[in-house]
Amino acid sequence: MSYKQIKGSYSFLTIPMILIMGMVIGWPLIQTFIFSFTDADLLGITKPGFTGLNNFLDAFQNRGFLNSLKVSGIFAVVVVSVEVILGTSVALLLNQPLIGSKVVRVFLILPWAVPTIVNAIMWRLIYNPEYGALNSLLYQLGFIDKYISWLSSADKALWAIIFADIWKNFSLVTLIVLASLQSLPESQVEAAKIDGANSWQRFFYITMPHIIPSLQVAMVLRIIEAVKVFDIIYVMTKGGPANKTRTGSIFIYQEAFTNSRIGAGSSFAIIMVAFIILLILVYMRTLSQQKR
């Protein structure tokens, strides 16, 4: 029996998946692309007209849109870097032989498992300007003498949301890094010790290189989520106050479904997709350069 016969041809097995993907991903993506060159409205009251590149030219003049991209950028950069640093530090701490670290490890999954919307309403209750736990706690401890409206002040809202997001998502980084730390062979560390490497050297030459691939996975997962963030912000502030927390996704949603301008909304979405593709390309570039 030849190798060919063993292999056979089973390409047809991919067809169901391709059909569904074409229906819910491919086709909508093409439609969004087409809409982006028109002035279509949501309900289709007027017949959409072809407007060429106008939507795109307008997009780069649109303060609201540009600002929303900036908010997305700040959110993603702060959230991902804090989560990676905090998450890794916590993993290193929990990898130490400390009494009780096993218990903490069991609860580590809690923030990650709490649904995003529950996390959002939970922190909304905690930040409540009148009856929230945060104000009450800070007041009782004497840190503040007046209650603060965290989510409705322009300079605090985004940071309050960032804090809430970090609580939920740093634990994913910790869990992934911790799993990797536990697969680090004890013998390697011992050998380095015998060779006279101090704990910093052991960390930089043995531990770090070992956990970096896992850390990269965690980072990619978090970047993907953070760049397109919608849910947590929409539920906590709806993009306010004064649009200070309005991210790209929220802006596009409002343009399409509140202002009913799906042509413009689509072009913003396409620009955002282009930015994400750029981000992925830069990331893969740096990865392949590191490998060389």
Binding site: T14, P16, M17, A113, V118, S214, Y234, I280
Partner: protein
């Protein structure tokens, strides 16, 4: 030397305690709120431990009655379950065979795999407008099955990515040996591949369930009544209303968190292993 060692250990324990408090306290407070009376939650400053445990919020959400909050909540609970399970079933059914082909026949077909993984990174706002028009046009708004198909936008790429790398880990020689022994195609898949793949499939199914359970954006757009509305939407609506039944909002949050938190605590190791093994190799 000895003294220094002790001090650093002390620091580590201090950090461990802070970490534990940080992880636990927000959710513990949600739990406490859910069993407090609404009067206690509007004191200024707050009382941290309720005088007596009050389950009325849970009762209001979980007791069925015509046009009550309980009715909507229970329907949402059912819809969330149905939508999540349909999504997972649908995704697994089409991705397992596809992932097998991607794993065993590398080459041009892997363009499709890369494309699938790539779409995982795109924001839902890139699809939602045409999907909305499509659902309106074919009268599919407010239907769990339609929502489950929409959820495939993010569950499918995730499944095919993880399942493919799990199949990669199964030696192809095992399949070859079976074929040489005269096994047909179905035998080869059912008797050789599936048993070895089962633990990984369990992990992928659980993760996908949690992802679908978590989803808010599409559900908010595409459902609006007890026919298909999901828990996240109901809870978000509950919280955005101008009312001060904080215990009710908290109870809703606790109930919606229970399934994923329990699954997470029970299967923590498997979940993380699945995620890491899928990712690191790419």
């Amino acid at each position: 030397m000895k003294k220094k060692f002790k001090f650093s250990t002390l620091l580590k324990y201090f950090a461990l305690i802070i970490l534990f408090v940080y992880i636990i306290s927000p959710f513990l407070w949600l739990l406490i709120m859910s069993v407090s009376s609404s009067a206690e939650l509007t004191l200024k400053p707050l009382r941290w431990i309720p005088e007596k445990i009050d389950f009325s919020a849970f009762k209001e959400l979980l007791v069925m009655g015509l046009n009550t909050r309980g009715e909507l909540f229970l329907y949402a609970l059912r819809n969330s379950l149905v939508t999540a399970m349909t999504t997972v079933l649908l995704s697994m059914l089409v991705t397992i065979p596809a992932a097998w082909v991607f794993s065993r026949y590398s080459g041009k077909k892997n363009v499709i795999l890369s494309l699938a993984i790539f779409t995982f990174m795109l924001p839902p706002v890139a699809y939602c407008i045409p999907l909305y028009k499509l659902l309106v046009r074919f009268d599919l708004m407010d239907k769990s099955l339609a929502l489950a198909f929409v959820y495939c936008t993010f569950v499918l790429p995730f499944c095919v990515w993880l399942i493919k790398s799990s199949i990669d880990a199964i030696p192809y020689e095992l399949e070859e040996a079976a074929v040489i022994d005269g096994a047909g195609f179905l035998q080869r898949i059912i008797q050789i591949v599936m048993p070895l793949l089962l633990p990984a499939l369990g992990t992928v199914a659980l993760m996908s369930l949690i992802m679908a359970w978590d989803e808010y954006f599409y559900a908010m757009l595409f459902t609006n009544s007890k026919a298909a509305i999901t828990l996240p939407v109901v809870i978000a609506n509950l919280a955005s209303g101008r009312q001060s039944n904080y215990n009710l909002i908290a109870a809703g949050g606790v109930l919606a968190s229970a399934p994923p938190v329990i699954i997470g605590m029970l299967f923590q190791k498997a979940l993380i292993k699945g995620l890491v093994s899928g990712g690191v190799k790419e």
